[in-house]
């Protein structure tokens, strides 16, 4: 298993990730790329990337990739999936991208039951623009725009995306995972596999939410950041399966 993990997935280019030490984006990229390889989907895959720290996905994945305007990946992916026969379409989005500026697009893609996979990286912060409050920022958490900590009386409460989207009939599968330890990475990988299967079996919208560390945005060393995901983020955003309509075998 560990040998396999070290080998570069075919669906990734040779380009080195630019992510900060301890950032979880890179691990999540690998899980998705490995799963594309496992299902032999590289030649059918179209990835729609976010605006956020993952804006360089088009350099990292050796698949067809489209940029989308900030938050609009679900709309772009909807159209690509609907006009392309037999292609595998996924979006990769941060919490600012998906749960703030792109809230309408994700809600309606889920409600319509678009047959796409959404990989949602919740790091409770705007990484790319310098650590501002995200819709997922925890109560009390200090960010560049909540210097005294997020005061729920003034800045409101975090949005729980998995819980919010699961009730839609168009949604086939939603699970919240984290990648803070090898054990959890294996679980997360299984969630990615499942999401893929839901699209391949044309069951409709699937989403995996990754609780993810942003050591830079949080102002923490990588080890502390991973621990912080486990100890604090999971309290606000409990791990688990939020929707699962069932696969054919």
């Amino acid at each position: 298993m560990s040998n396999q993990i070290l080998e570069r997935p075919k669906s990734l280019t040779q380009k080195q990730f630019h992510y900060c030490p301890g950032c979880h984006h890179g691990i999540i990229h690998r899980l998705i790329a490995e799963t594309i390889d496992e299902f032999d989907l590289r030649e059918k895959t179209i990835i729609v990337q976010p605006v956020g720290c993952a804006v360089y996905i088009y350099e990292y994945f050796d698949t067809d990739v489209s940029e989308a305007a900030h938050g609009r990946a679900p709309a772009v992916a909807t159209a690509i999936k609907r006009v392309s026969k037999g292609k595998f379409v996924l979006t990769y989005q941060g919490d600012g991208d998906l749960a703030a500026i792109g809230t309408a697009e994700i809600v309606h893609a889920a409600a319509r039951g678009e047959n796409i996979c959404v990989f949602f990286v919740n790091n409770a912060i705007y990484g790319m623009t310098g650590g501002q409050m995200a819709p997922t920022t925890l109560p009390g958490m200090k960010t560049a725009t909540t210097p005294l900590g997020r005061d729920v009386k003034k800045q409101g409460y975090p949005i729980k995306v998995s819980e919010m989207l699961a009730p839609f009939e168009g949604v086939s599968y939603i699970e919240r995972v984290m990648v803070s330890s090898p054990k959890h990475i294996i679980k997360a990988k299984n969630a990615v596999r499942k999401a893929f299967k839901y699209q391949l079996q044309e069951k409709g919208f699937s989403l995996v939410e990754f609780l993810s560390a942003c050591p830079t945005g949080w102002g923490m060393p990588p080890v502390d950041a991973a621990k912080w995901v486990e100890e604090n983020m999971t309290k606000q955003f409990p791990l688990g399966v939020y929707k699962e309509v069932g696969l054919d075998d």
Binding site: R42, F61, D64, V65, S66, E67, A79, V83
Partner: protein
């Protein structure tokens, strides 16, 4: 075969006949018949129809379909087109072809649902962020609107640059006989850049992001170079003579109304010419300049307080006076109103 059709419906049918296989829209008056028509016809034609949650989503769906390489169109009216501006800028940056229709209504703000021409600036001067202009054609009859939409699919693919059909509420609503182009004559071009899965070729990437200033400048220089070639698409109609007392300049519905006034004045022995820009960007600059030099004065009329006027003033030599008459807020000038206006200018000029 000529059939009687509304402007909005004729444009929709022309798109389908041009091989448009995806339409995304959001209801807004005065172009709702277009989305109604597409909801029925697109599935019949084997294409994709989707009513989105907003014009913001619409334009990003257009972007996705264009990235996947199919012929795609949307239509809206002024407030909806305002919402699309970020997405249009992305289409330009990523060099994606798409046909957009704006059936203009009165603004600013919610304004009203009556005909207007007050989105000229938005359409021809950029609209969204970044250094670009949108290819813009303005029809003045139902039949012209249909053939314009049909041809727009080839033009947008030729330059990989979006094309806007700038119509107004009057044109959208009137019914006129049209002979529609045949299905199958216009075909989507082969797009080796489109996202179809990286099978037997290197992976394709659609993006407008160039973090390095040198790279972005290079990309912009490439776009500017491309924009120059778009001059090949300049279109106009003129009916002029060598010694005009006045040259009338107008586009769309106003040009059509002015034609009546011009005919009447000619019947009275007046030497009046008319120049109708059909492509608003690229603007028929040299043609207008030489036409204007044959006139004592120039008269511009728009359903706005003078947007195209700024281009006309820039082009017409300084010694020739440019006069303007505009109505806005959804008020369409009547033929008689324009006749009287022209007549008084002519009498003053004598």
């Amino acid at each position: 075969m000529r059939v009687l059709m509304k402007g909005t419906e004729a444009m929709a049918e022309a798109a389908i006949r041009a091989g448009c296989s995806a339409y995304f829209g959001y209801p807004i008056t005065p172009q709702t018949e277009l989305i109604h028509y597409m909801s029925r016809r697109m599935p019949e034609a084997g294409g994709v129809f989707l009513q989105a949650e907003s014009e913001v989503s619409v334009i990003n769906m257009v972007y996705g379909a264009a990235a996947a390489g199919v012929r795609v169109m949307t239509s809206s009216s002024s407030p909806g087109v305002s919402l699309m501006q970020e997405g249009i800028s992305y289409l330009v940056g990523a060099e994606l072809p798409a046909v957009l229709i704006n059936v203009m209504r009165g603004g600013p703000g919610l304004g009203n649902i009556q005909p207007s021409q007050s989105d000229y600036f938005q359409s021809t001067k950029g609209g969204g962020h970044g250094d670009y202009k949108l290819i813009t054609f303005a029809p003045s009859s139902v039949s012209e609107a249909a053939s314009m939409v049909y041809d727009a699919f080839d033009i947008t693919e030729k330059y990989r640059h979006p094309v806007m059909i700038l119509a107004d509420g009057a044109l959208g609503q009137i019914m006129e006989p049209v002979s529609l182009p045949e299905q199958g004559a216009s075909k989507p071009s082969v797009k080796n850049w489109a996202l179809t899965g990286a099978k037997g070729r290197p992976a394709n990437k659609i993006f407008s992001f160039y973090l390095d200033p040198k790279g972005l400048e290079e990309h912009n220089l490439h776009l500017q170079e491309k924009f120059k070639n778009i001059d090949d698409e300049i279109k106009y109609e003129e009916d002029i003579s060598d010694d005009m007392e006045i040259l009338v300049v107008a586009y769309g519905t106003v040009a059509r109304i002015l034609k009546n006034a011009v005919q009447k004045l000619r019947g009275e022995g007046r030497k009046v010419g008319i120049f109708r820009p059909i492509s608003l960007w690229p603007f028929p600059e040299s043609a207008l300049k030489s036409a204007s030099m044959k006139a004592k004065q120039v008269f511009v009329s728009e359903m706005s307080y003078g947007q195209m006027l700024e281009d006309v003033r820039r082009i017409v030599p300084d010694e020739i006076e440019v006069k303007f008459y505009g109505r806005a807020g959804g008020v369409v000038p009547s033929p008689n109103e324009l006749y009287i206006k022209l007549k008084s200018l002519l009498e003053r000029g004598v």
